[in-house]
Symmetry: C2
Subunit: 149 residues, 2 copies
DNA sequence: GTAGTTGCAAAACTTTTGCACGGCA
DNA sequence: TGCCGTGCAAAAGTTTTGCAACTAC
């Protein structure tokens, strides 16, 4: 399953960076493109290994620095989990993450009711909501069919 | 705001531990009581400092070991956040966490619709759900009224 | 030209683990 | 008494930071 469908062009990324007065270096463009294109919720390591294929000198520090920029710009969300497997997603719409605790895959599920629940909750206690995270943890169908460990 | 309202007695905790053939040491009892009673979503450090008041020799390692036991027993949930501030909560019912990104406080909000959204999502993609997490990030009313930093 | 960025190494933190001692059952 | 649990220190793992060299603009 290829992830880089080039839905986001170099030009788009360059425009985003320039708008924030950030330099459009090849490393940054590659990191941004990969994570913004991906629907796989990659880890920093995943991104590092993938970007290294085209830019062998890139460092993990640069990956983290670029991911932090994208977080500040609100273009990606950081999903932390127990056992230190932080993952990054570019889907900014309110949605549900189905997280398989056996294979680690994450599926996005849309449900319009998520928005109305958020609206109800923040009204109840007067809260300025800025983002959200809705995870469901369990075992996916494929893993359920496999023999237990 | 006192947190130890003794809603959970030593006897209850001892019974829980013995049922799992775990020894009911004073440290474990204190750690379990504190985190199971708390509605403040404490960090491991918070728990360590508080338990140290009554058990000065307790170590952070013991706190982590005990928290891991409680997690395995399904009695608490671990909430990880960016910047490494993992927090623990004893509210096992599906609910929403309103997380203030300025003061760090977390409020629980109940909404029965959370359950139906979960049911709908797991049916759509055939998923064995075991637990969930629904966070809303933003700024609480009190912090909104304060001057910006 | 120069201000911002990279890549390396080291630091900072959180959480886990190994092991000898000590205490619960 | 025997075995499990504790507490210390060290390890492991992830993310951040300082800095000299480099590069996009």
């Amino acid at each position: 399953m290829s992830m880089n469908n080039s839905q986001i062009s170099d030009e788009t990324v360059i425009r985003l960076l320039r708008k924030k007065r950030l330099k459009a270096t090849p490393q940054r463009i590659a990191i941004c493109r990969f994570v913004l294109d991906s629907r796989e919720h990659p880890t920093a390591q995943n991104i590092y290994i993938k970007v290294k294929e085209m830019h062998p000198t890139v460092s993990l520090a640069t990956v983290y620095k670029t991911l932090n920029i994208l977080k500040e710009l609100g273009l990606i969300k950081e999903l932390t989990f127990p056992q230190g497997e932080t993952r990054f997603e570019s889907n900014r719409e309110p949605h549900i993450n189905l997280v398989c605790q056996r294979c680690g895959k994450i599926w996005d599920v849309d449900d319009l009711a998520v928005r109305s629940i958020i609206a109800r909750a923040v009204t109840k206690v007067k809260f300025n909501a800025m983002s959200e995270r809705f995870d469901i943890y369990g075992v996916c169908e494929r893993c359920s069919k496999r023999k237990a460990l």
